[in-house]
């Protein structure tokens, strides 16, 4: 009996990996923030904080502190917003670099081996493959607007690294990232689980001479789900003539 009690006490004292925070649920866009003390610790010095989260957007040739390479700058300078808005392009999906920060909700399904993040904007769905030291994809593997995302937990924070993103806009004003873009995101819960805070940090040496980060928040909202987003390209006709 005494031995059994000893075993039970030992078992109770055995260190058990704490369950990670549960990010599952539906999240509406939250308030705009410029920083977060917990996540800022992981933002390298010199990273420019982008103030275009949510509805805010930059005007022409304003990249919020990002330093485009000369080639990228030349492309941005030549960009014609009206010419770029056509039936063919009106419903093109941006990559997660731009899609994540907009004022649309997200919905998260959290599992041990996989996580799924649905974005209402453009009906996008991201899959996070969970685990550390997961293999890289070959450089010539397909590039998509959601990319290849590997994720793991560092304490209370979910860290997601995404590669294989297909070229798309960064700031919606002529500055596009390349297929070499790497996005690192960190997510943490705050306010007792009512708020989700993330950093979205991006690096693309083909296009950017520095690194950018966005701070994004959402608030947990019960009883809702992402809505359908059926994009109608005829919208572009409204811009066909001044």
């Amino acid at each position: 009996m005494r031995r059994l009690v000893c075993w039970l006490l030992l078992a109770a004292a055995w260190p058990v990996a704490a369950a990670p925070p549960d990010l599952s649920g539906f999240w509406m866009p939250g308030r705009t923030i410029d920083t977060d003390p917990e996540l800022a610790k992981f933002v390298p010095k010199g990273t420019v904080v982008m103030h275009d989260t949510g509805a805010a957007e930059f005007g022409l040739m304003d990249f919020g502190g990002l330093k485009p390479t000369p080639d990228a700058m030349a492309r941005a300078r030549a960009w014609n917003p009206r010419a770029g808005l056509t039936i063919s392009t009106a419903c093109l999906i941006p990559s997660i670099v731009y899609a994540l920060q907009g004022p649309f909700p997200i919905e998260i399904y959290q599992g041990r081996d996989l996580m799924v993040m649905r974005l209402e904007y453009m009906d996008m769905a991201r899959v996070f493959v969970m685990g550390e030291n997961l293999p890289d994809w070959p450089a010539n593997a397909p590039h998509t607007k959601t990319g290849y995302s590997r994720a793991h937990w560092e304490g209370e924070q979910l860290v997601v690294v995404t590669t294989h993103l297909k070229a798309a806009t960064i700031t919606n004003n002529g500055l596009d990232h390349s297929d070499a873009m790497v996005v690192t995101e960190r997510y943490r819960l705050a306010d007792g689980g009512k708020t989700l805070i993330a950093t979205q940090m991006y690096e693309d040496p083909k296009v950017l001479e520095n690194r950018g980060v966005r701070y994004i928040t959402w608030r947990r909202t019960a009883g809702d789900h992402v809505h359908a987003y059926d994009c109608d390209p005829s919208f572009a006709e409204e811009y066909a003539a001044p």
Binding site: G54, A55, E57, P81, G102, P103, Y121, H227, C231
Partner: protein
């Protein structure tokens, strides 16, 4: 009946109207590039057409000018999914009804605005859902 801006229209920055439709939202096209976020204008007219579609809805109204002539104004709304959460639907506006819409005017001077709020002829705001404090920043 109200019409052109800035001179003929009762426009501009009425705080009390704030944000039934949110601040300039996610634009497929860039809001900042196409619309002047430093001005707000309002126009009153009769609904010709209401398209409830992504990425943006569209309200087309006929505005009668003081000289009796008419002109068409277009108002671009947020995406339907955002509006649905504020009580909008595909049939929330009826052809032939009089409304006043306010918003940010097109930079190119065309009769086009990004809609901030819409009111019916009796002053009732379109869309019953109250906006959340956090959404006001969006």
């Amino acid at each position: 009946m109200n019409n052109r801006l800035p001179d003929g229209c009762r426009s501009c920055l009425r705080a009390g109207w704030l944000l039934l439709l949110s601040l300039p939202a996610f634009a497929h096209h860039s809001f900042a590039v196409f619309f002047d976020q430093d001005r707000v204008v309002a126009v009153t007219g009769v609904v010709q057409e209401f398209q409830f579609r992504n990425p943006h809805g569209l309200i087309r109204i006929t505005v009668k000018k003081p000289d009796g002539s008419e002109e068409t104004w277009k108002g671009e709304t947020n995406s339907p999914s955002i509006l649905e959460r504020r009580g909008w639907s595909r049939d929330v506006l009826q052809t032939g009804e009089t409304i006043t819409m306010d918003g940010w005017p097109a930079r190119d001077g065309s009769r086009y605005l990004r809609v901030r709020s819409v009111k019916r002829a009796d002053g009732t705001p379109v869309g019953g859902a109250a906006i959340q404090a956090t959404e006001e920043q969006k």
